[in-house]
């Protein structure tokens, strides 16, 4: 997608009259900012290991009304069928298939914009956030009121299914008022040809509230999934994030967490399973802006065939963010000769009373361990599977919701069955 095709699509979206006029200057501003730098290339420090050439070569078009499903869909094929779900199909909100638990409010982006006086705190230096703002669709805001604990999880199901080359830019706001809690699942599914999904999720977690965010990325093998997540945390808030990514051709997660209030904590976890020519890039930035905060980044990858992976984690401890406790860990197993892993765990520290550490390992399965298991009468494949299972179990076991945990285990099992390791 070159700049001129972006321009054509941009003119189209500016022409759509069902958006309120307030959005137009915001879009225009973002698009202009985007044009200044253009799409990232490998000379950009943050993108040096992810080649966006495949995206540049394809002309995507905006999703249209005709891309909405003609009739009601059966979403049970995507699993987790008992939980409350908001369905977004090719960028179109499917009201009839969606439900939300009591205590949660769902409003449209226009309504949310009215409430905020159309003053969004836009990201200016992130090209895909700018693109998202320029093209945002299927926007909504979920909010949980003060003191409300939502027991049952909520899922946002993004289905990307089309024969056409479509680009979709969902914009979601999630706001947790003081002392509330919620578990929320972001699931990407669908069977599509070339497809560009560029989502921006912006979360505000107020004082003493807790959010558990589980991201399941299972797009089809031709999809480009760019996920931008911005988390803003107040005093004593808690955010835990689990990503299970095994889909898409190029997957890039830009996760920015900002610990703005004293005593906030965030625990970020990710497991990437890649095969064929998949490329999954995790770009994780944690900003410690207040004292006494705790953070961890724990990302693991299993790479098979000719797949590649990137972990680019950065923890920034600002001046004055004393008593910070932060940890980064990145562990990768290369299962095949053609696989490649780039790991850049970074620490940027401007305060002195801190404890920060990071670790990174990359290697193959331990031959001694395989031999040990084999010598006890277990065949090679099972021995390897056993070791791989041990490697990922720490990730999966940490999900507290049993139902979701079961689902993730079943998905991992089927990945293991499909791949010879």
């Amino acid at each position: 997608m070159n700049i001129s095709s972006f321009q054509t699509e941009f003119n189209k979206i500016m022409g759509r009259d069902y958006f309120t006029n307030h959005v137009k200057p915001i879009r225009a501003q973002a698009f202009n900012n985007f044009l200044e730098e253009g799409l990232p290339n490998k000379n950009w420090e943050d993108w040096r290991h992810t080649d966006l050439k495949p995206i540049k070569e394809i002309d995507f078009r905006l999703s249209e009304i005709s891309d909405a499903p003609a009739h009601e869909l059966d979403i049970t094929e995507f699993g987790l069928d008992d939980i409350h779900t908001i369905v977004i199909y090719n960028g179109h909100y499917q009201e009839s298939m969606s439900s939300i638990p009591n205590g949660v409010r769902l409003i449209s982006l226009s309504e949310y914009g009215e409430q905020k006086g159309w003053r969004f705190n836009e990201q200016k230096d992130s090209p895909f956030d700018l693109l998202n703002t320029a093209f945002m669709d299927s926007g909504f805001c979920l909010s949980v009121d003060k003191g409300v604990q939502i027991e049952s999880p909520i899922r946002i199901l993004f289905i990307s299914s089309s024969e056409n080359k479509i680009m979709v830019s969902p914009r979601v706001y999630i706001e947790l008022e003081e002392s509330s809690s919620v578990t929320f699942v972001e699931q990407h599914e669908g069977n599509s040809k070339e497809y560009l999904l560029n989502s921006s999720l912006i979360m505000g977690i107020k004082r003493n509230s807790r959010m558990c965010h589980i991201r399941i990325q299972n797009n089809s093998g031709n999809t480009f999934n760019i996920g931008n997540i911005h988390v803003h945390q107040d005093k004593e808030s808690h955010y835990s994030f689990y990503q299970f990514a095994y889909g898409s051709k190029i997957g890039r997660l830009n996760l920015f967490t900002n610990l703005n209030g004293k005593g906030a904590e965030c625990f970020l976890n990710g497991l990437a399973l890649t095969c064929d020519h998949q490329h999954l890039d995790n770009h994780i930035i944690t900003n410690h802006n207040a004292p006494n905060c705790t953070s961890s980044q724990n990302f693991k990858s299993l790479l098979n065939d000719s797949s590649s992976g990137v972990f680019n984690g950065r923890t920034v401890v600002s001046k004055g963010a004393e008593k910070t406790d932060s940890n980064q860990s990145n562990k990768n197993i290369l299962l095949s000769k053609g696989s490649l892993m780039n790991s850049n765990p970074q620490l940027e520290i401007y305060a002195d009373d801190v404890k920060c550490s990071h670790g990174s390992t990359t290697g193959a399965l331990d031959r001694d361990a395989i031999f040990y298991i084999q010598s006890r009468g277990i065949d090679m494949t099972s021995a390897k599977a056993l070791l791989v299972r041990g490697f990922v179990s720490e990730m999966i076991e940490s999900i507290s919701n049993k139902y979701i945990k079961q689902y993730v285990i079943s998905k991992f099992d089927s990945w293991l069955n499909e791949n010879t390791i």
């Binding site: 420090e45 001046k319 004055g320 004393e322 990768n332 290369l334 299962l335 095949s336 000769k337 696989s339 490649l340 892993m341 780039n342 790991s343 850049n344 765990p345 970074q346 620490l347 940027e348 520290i349 401007y350 305060a351 002195d352 009373d353 801190v354 404890k355 920060c356 550490s357 990071h358 670790g359 990174s360 390992t361 990359t362 290697g363 193959a364």
Partner: protein, 481 residues
């Protein structure tokens, strides 16, 4: 902590002890950089045509290059036209120490490295580089007996042109990076070492660099070649006089290790770090150091103690080409006051069973900013490659920063690669523990920091370990109590 704070404050105010300017007549080309200047340098040094052409190629390339901006250091733009690219003390070609300018010897005495004493006591051969031309070389005869060539670079160009031509630029090509290219165009002198087949160098080789002439950029070029089965340990140390304008130092060091050979390269760097309060006047240390383990079972080990300079930009690297070759990097870097350091290493694994170890210790105090930036690359053919990296930082005071940016790139599944890093301050509990056993805060901090650096110090040759501790006292202990 207030006691410790007091100690820190009092020591932070300590001025640079080695700051002085030696007044010697020297021959200097007026500032400016163009092809003519390069021709003059080449002519003054009586260089062969091929070297002049190589310099000019580098210069033409350099004019098209841009100052690198990716490092986490800030400094005002350098006006390359205001630097004089050649300066040599006028008295040259001395056969014995007696002929050396007494003022010069005085300089060395102030630094605590008197040539005669070293000659007698430590058995270290010193190729003293004062500004850009080597003026005294000792122990040459002994080395000659062993067949070792240890001379200034310009001598090597005259006496061993075929060796220089064969190896110059093979590890750091003139196109490599902005500062290396600049160096290739204008380098004035440096050291040259060749260890023949099967020879174990009978002594530690040492060069003391010293920038003296005002406004003279120092462009050293060092080339060390260890032939099959040989062994050499090379020491490099620097101190510089105090002055107000920033000085640029863009050196290039190339190491070539042949089959079964070992090169150990140790550096203690204590250039003027700039005014303690304003940071003005310090040295810019933009150095390109790289070694190639060309053939199997070769080994290159870098050890550095970086205590000086206003801005340090330095990544001693190893290219592990030969099977079973080994690369090592041990570093202690200290930044205090306004010092900035962006330093680390690169280990490029190409051969089978190659191993690399990285131990980096950073200490940041005052307003110092320190970055570890390292790259470990394990290429497809590097079966069973092994890397272990550990990068720890200590922060002292709330205005300093410590950053760790490792780049890890693994393309071979049989490789094993581990990296770990920690950043923390000196715990109050640790200090308290020492205090209650009757150890003063000052001693406790110094003990903890020394323990922190021990892993690296033990890699230093004996002759250097003493100086390293001394320099740490000035820079590091001065800031931590």
């Amino acid at each position: 902590m207030s006691n410790e704070q007091q100690i820190i404050d009092s020591n932070l105010n300590k001025e640079y002890e080695y700051g002085f300017v030696t007044d010697i007549e020297s021959e200097t080309i007026p500032p400016g950089l163009n092809e003519d200047v390069i021709r003059i340098i080449s002519q003054k040094k009586d260089e062969p045509q091929w070297l002049l052409e190589w310099r000019l190629k580098a210069f033409r390339r350099w004019t098209k290059m841009k100052d690198p901006d990716w490092a986490k250091v800030k400094y005002p733009d350098i006006d390359y036209q205001s630097i004089s690219y050649y300066s040599a003390p006028k008295k040259k070609e001395l056969s014995s120490l007696d002929e050396v300018d007494p003022q010069l010897l005085e300089t060395y005495n102030k630094l605590g490295i008197p040539l005669e004493e070293q000659k007698m006591l430590s058995g270290v051969a010193v190729d003293a580089v004062f500004d850009s031309v080597s003026i005294a070389t000792t122990f040459k005869d002994e080395l000659k007996k062993a067949g070792v060539i240890f001379c200034s670079f310009s001598e090597a160009v005259k006496d061993y042109p075929e060796l220089v031509q064969k190896y110059l630029g093979t590890v750091v090509p003139y196109t490599d990076n902005y500062f290396a290219t600049l160096n290739s165009a204008v380098f004035t002198d440096g050291s040259f070492v060749y260890i023949p087949k099967g020879v174990r160098c009978p002594m530690e080789l040492s060069t003391y660099f010293r920038i003296n002439e005002a406004n003279t950029g120092q462009f050293e070029r060092t080339l060390i070649i260890a032939d099959e089965g040989s062994h050499v340990s090379y020491l490099e140390g620097c101190t510089a006089p105090m002055r107000d304008e920033n000085q640029l130092h863009a050196a290039v060091v190339e190491l070539v290790a042949h089959k079964d050979s070992t090169i150990k390269y140790s550096t203690v760097q204590n250039w003027y770090p700039g005014h303690p309060e304003t940071g003005a006047g310090g040295i810019y240390n933009f150095v390109t150091k790289r070694g190639t383990c060309l053939e199997e079972n070769s080994r290159i080990s870098w050890t550095q103690v970086e205590t000086g300079s206003a801005v340090t930009w330095k990544y001693p690297s190893c290219i592990l080409k030969g099977n079973n070759s080994v690369g090592e990097f041990y570093s202690v870097a200290v930044t205090n006051n306004h010092q900035q350091a962006d330093t680390g290493t690169k280990m490029i694994h190409l051969g089978k069973n190659t191993k690399s170890t990285i131990i980096s210790k950073g200490i940041s105090a005052g307003k110092g900013q320190q970055t570890y930036r390292g790259e470990v690359k394990i290429m497809k053919g590097a079966e069973q490659a092994r890397n272990f990296s550990q990068c720890d930082s200590i922060l002292i005071g709330s205005d300093c920063g410590a950053h760790t940016f490792p780049y890890i790139d693994v393309r071979n599944p049989t490789a094993q690669m581990e990296h770990e890093a920690t950043t923390s301050n000196i715990g109050e509990d640790q200090l308290f523990y020492c205090n209650q056993r009757g150890i003063s805060s000052e001693d406790a901090v110094s003990m903890i920091v020394n323990g922190f650096c021990k892993e690296v110090f033990k890699e230093l040759p004996m002759e250097f370990a003493v100086e390293a501790t001394k320099l740490m006292e000035v820079t590091l202990e001065g800031s931590v109590g």
